[in-house]
Symmetry: C2
């Protein structure tokens, strides 16, 4: 580790690259699990990018204007762990404080893939700082990088001022053959080309080997030509080990100002090992013997594990470290001055970083008046969304080509759409690309915008891979889904969600809201807007829902507790039966309550807009809302009954969908599938009679 | 309707096309709901294809060698309904008998989008004959068409013999801008190019208008260049109304023998109407006035609705009808002769058509011997799958690049992979394209092969859009998912399914199997193979599962009832507590049962490999397995607890996942997340004590 060891830059480059390869091999070998081949093949490219191009300060890995590096081929995580370790990236705590300790210690590397190591099997955002996005499910990383690049353009346009180029970061994503095959990456690449994201660079690590064998067996398209068709700049590096070629390609990205860039790099999986260019080296350790043989090829001491030659840490410090520190220092000085000149804008930038909202963000929220005819929750939500957006400048959103149907167009700030010529617009046209829409929204959230996107609830299925990542990364993306049930009507079963609500509720860490009327919409939005670490799903109706008269029923504030008593038996007294429901079915429950009252049966209506919130309430509150003594309970929801038993219990009944829907006007569907006051009344009456005999209380 | 009316073919062509347009406008107008614009724009192309090219006999819409027409832009269903009506397609019953009545009557057209009409909002397979695939969720139709085209190649190679070209059908899909944007279509197009499917023709109806506006706002890639990059033949029709150009393009497809063909057709949404080329005409009726104005443009009597001019039915009869009837008659004669020469092959073809299995298909299934160390269910399943495949020649399958991990390679018939040079292979390399893999499998099932495909359970999320269509269409695709839980281990939370089981169980019509040991694997496969109308999901472990000693525990036959008593308390007597579980957790329950027995607590272990089957059993059986009197119940599953309450009840407990998983070796994860015999024992003991006081039975 003596300074004089750093003499010939070429020697140091080679040494640094082989150090990375050695660590990757050793980490996988020690874990007896992992993916050594990809890191070994692409290490020279990742090294060159980090050491010579990336504007990233290891001392502050959350500096807002850092270049982003997304390892889309997340199985190559050992490569990232090596880089985070060797460059000395600092840890960051959950409150966005940079800590003194390293993000990845040598001990972490040695406990790769073991419980609690900061080097898990795949890159995990928020678990290890320096990870810009959770990756592993292929295609997601590149798709998120498109969202990040759009954010970069948006931030630059909103915040940069003459003499203050606060935001000009680039976004790099490293992707393999698998990423290139996934539909979500195709969708996102099309968007990036359309949007002319010249701050975006995908490095395609083409080793042409996947788990089943050579890509010749299934993937023979001309990827370069495909990206040219999308409108990208495409350049090729014929040999991943040729650092000069790699650097020239990265330079060509830097000088391209009108298109995103694809660098197609020909690499060799498991480079240097006896199993080079074979699937064997993809997903298992090389074995002790092959590790030693490979270390000999790389000039590494074959009996030393996790070997870091003298001077390597310093070498990284001199490269990415020094460059990043200087860039950050200059930026911070500039930002200080900027804050004096543009205090309001600086305040916005600062709040965004810690996911705070502006003071007074909810000033425009106001209750909706009672209205028996009512309003579709998509429409009330659209109004509330605009009321919030007016005060939260970085709340931006788009739709997968359904804005007019989902009612999510932001009319604020000119009400325009984000385009190359209009980079400060608040609306994004994602096209008919649900999966990319969700993934790009994740990328926007990772760059600290507050994004939503919208579609029909049925198409949440297309986006699940990305919705799951919102939850796993704990980023507060808002997924807005309208047309939430057989309420879709004539479009029929292909467009009528049934199992989607249950599917989303089953996902850990996701908050699913299905408000019953316009005032619940307001209260649900109030909760959602305040979320800092949890993604939310808003499930909204196409059809009008009556706005309850809150002077007669309980306040919609209860929505914030997930479920609440909307109304007790009109005649007073303890309820004989509980009617539990969400969304459009709450009004149905209210009607049944009246019918039951006429028969002398006391029904309580419980509105349950967010099960996850309700489950978090103290038992006392839950028992107050759903008294354990009342076992006559009817769950009513135009969705799969799956999951309702938790609240309804074995003595209760569930009025729900047990098949797919049908194509017909809603009224016909309601009677076909049994969502009528008479049916609810009948089921409730039968339950009460069963339990109490013919005479009811 | 006089014969002499049919004079000038050009006049009749124009009249037929405008008739279709008129019906589409009227149907949408009458329904006050639907999508008139697309049919009006693309009618000339669909007409030309049907009338002049399609080898399809309306008198037998399930003739095995018919050309397939998939309306991937399913919102244009009125176009298909018009064609099915005008060509006189016959209805087919669920047992594959062609009926005398028409598939689509004039009354059906007039009740478009009403309950029970055979003209629902989107094309629904099995509901209306002549519909080759359920479409509407964009991208699915084109992706299925790739599976159909692969099936066509496979069938030809397996069954055609010198002088008997039994299978040479072509597959056409009509797709819009939305289909082209969806990831699943990109994935499938890449496969089609790689596989050189020259029997596949996509017609791209490029009207460049989507719901949010002109495609300029989000979709400006060069689609033709993209398809060239995939290896397709691409040809352009500059004007959808130029029937000569359309015919020439379709001819060019017919003469292309090495590549799939994309015909890019420039069309005008809402052609002829006042709102032509605007999004207004996409998804709502034109309005009475505009309908009349448009009819004038088309020379249709403006005051007659659903007008079919004299001679039009006969004209279709002379075109597609006569050509189709001749082709089918020739085929049937040929097949008769073929059946004499190759009776075994003919028998296969006939059984496939009605989804029967060969006699003796399960002859090779045999029980696995008891083995405490056991075998991963992916491995036992792989063996059983091969045992079945040996006797079911049209059981074919593939994987989204995970065959070595999912253990689904078929070793039968040479054990090769399907490629242009090997069209009879039983294995398909779908590449890292889960969504297309599932959609293409749907297409293969629609052409009566018996397909499976495999991946990791976590990636079922990527394929949900297509899995749902398996269920909605009621086609028996087998979706095989391994790596079914935190049992994945070191790969960590991105690869560990949690909510996927619940999500799949919530889907109507889908059968989800999670067998506990090798013998349950056999029995589950026995059920799955026999399914004729239901898709199944097999959920299998990566890690070894002990093979229970069936001389000690109950027979695995019980798996066929969905859930069964695997073992009662070792000491005999009624159980104090029920341990309910599936898959890998059943062995855990068995261990806890022993621990509990040592404490004098009698535990029954219930294995529940298929909830859907169990829910269908008579109440008597269900109560026998889960006696209502025993409310101390523990549900144990390495998945979201969502849905378990149904069996466990409010007095029970659920040991499940409440968060995402973590990256670590399985043993560490089992104790971190509480899947240990001690924990199960503790929870069960507490429940029993709570209910019975400290002294237990």
């Amino acid at each position: 580790m003596t300074e004089h060891a750093v003499t010939d830059p070429d020697v140091m480059d080679a040494r640094a690259i082989n150090t990375i390869r050695g660590i990757c091999m050793d980490a996988v070998q020690k874990a007896e699990s992992g993916h050594p081949g990809t890191p070994m093949g692409i290490a020279p490219v990742a090294y060159t990018l980090w050491q010579k191009f990336l504007r990233f300060d290891p001392a502050d890995p959350i500096w807002p204007n850092r270049d982003r590096f997304v390892l889309s081929e997340g199985h190559a995580s050992a490569l990232l762990w090596s880089l985070l370790h060797l460059t000395g990236v600092r840890a960051v705590d959950p409150d966005y404080e940079v800590l003194g300790r390293p993000a990845v210690t040598m001990d972490d590397l040695k406990t790769f893939r073991q419980l609690d190591s900061h080097c898990p099997g795949h890159p995990e955002y928020r678990w290890t700082s320096g990870v810009e996005a959770t990756t592993g499910p292929l295609g997601q990383g590149v798709a998120m990088s498109v969202g990040m690049a759009m954010s970069g353009q948006w931030l630059a346009t909103r915040y940069n001022r003459e003499g203050f180029p606060l935001f000009d970061f680039d976004v790099y994503a490293l992707a393999g053959d698998g990423c290139m095959m996934e539909g979500v990456s195709n969708e996102a690449a099309s968007v990036a080309g359309h949007q002319k994201l010249s701050n975006l660079c995908w490095i395609y690590d083409s080793n042409r080997v996947t788990i089943e064998g050579h890509t010749d067996i299934t993937f023979t398209e001309d990827v370069a030509a495909r990206f040219l068709a999308y409108g990208w700049n495409v350049t090729t590096v014929a040999d991943a080990n040729n650092l000069g070629m790699v650097a020239r390609a990265l330079h060509s990205f830097r000088t391209e100002h009108t298109r995103p860039t694809l660098i197609l790099v020909h690499s060799h999986i498991g480079y240097g090992s006896p199993m080079e260019d074979t699937p064997k080296v993809h997903g298992s350790p090389l074995g002790e013997q092959a590790v030693r043989a490979t270390k000999r090829v790389f000039g590494l001491p074959e009996n030393l594990d996790f070997y870091v030659p003298d001077g390597i840490y310093e070498w990284f410090e001199r490269g990415v470290g020094t460059r990043g520190a200087a860039a950050r220092a200059a930026w911070e000085a500039s930002f200080k001055e900027y804050a004096n000149t543009f205090p309001a804008l600086a305040d916005e930038i600062e709040r965004m970083q810690t996911r705070e909202l502006p003071i007074g963000w909810d000033a425009d929220l106001s209750p909706f008046p009672a209205d028996p005819k009512g309003v579709a929750s998509r429409a009330s939500s659209g109004q509330v969304l605009n009321d919030i957006a007016r005060n939260v400048p970085w709340l931006v959103g788009g739709s997968a080509d359904l804005t007019p149907s989902t009612d999510t167009w932001l009319k604020v700030d000119g009400g325009t759409g984000f385009e190359p010529a209009d980079r400060a617009a608040r609306n994004f046209h994602h096209g008919v690309r649900e999966h990319a829409a969700a993934a790009m929204s994740n990328g926007m959230a990772l760059t600290k915008l507050r994004p939503f996107w919208s579609g029909f609830l049925i198409f949440s299925d297309y986006a699940r891979g990305a919705i799951r990542l919102s939850a796993l990364m704990e980023v507060p993306v808002i997924h807005i889904f309208t047309h939430d049930s057989i309420g879709v009507g004539e479009d029929g079963p292909t467009h009528q969600p049934v199992e989607q609500l249950a599917s989303l509720r089953a996902m850990p860490g996701l908050m699913v809201f299905r408000p019953a009327d316009a005032n619940e919409v307001v209260e649900c939005w109030r909760v959602v807007a305040g979320l800092r670490r949890e993604p939310a799903v808003m499930v909204l109706s196409r059809q009008a829902l009556p706005t309850f008269d809150r002077s007669v029923v309980h306040s919609a504030d209860g929505a914030a507790r997930g479920a609440y008593v909307l109304a007790d038996p009109p005649g007073g007294g303890d309820p004989d039966v509980l009617l539990l429901s969400t969304g459009s079915e709450v009004a149905l429950a209210m009607n049944a309550r009246d019918e039951l009252a006429a028969e002398g049966i006391g029904a309580r209506v419980v509105s349950m807009p967010c099960w996850e919130l309700f489950d978090r309430q103290p038992a006392e509150y839950r028992d107050e809302v759903l008294p354990p003594s009342v076992t006559a309970r009817v769950g009513i929801e135009q969705a799969s009954s799956f999951g309702w038993d938790r609240y309804v219990g074995p003595a209760g009944a569930i009025i729900a969908m047990h098949t797919f829907g049908a194509s017909a006007p809603l009224k016909q569907l309601l009677s076909k599938f049994g969502f009528t006051p008479d049916r609810v009344t009948e089921v409730a009456r039968d339950l009460v009679r069963e339990q109490h005999g013919e005479g009811t209380s």
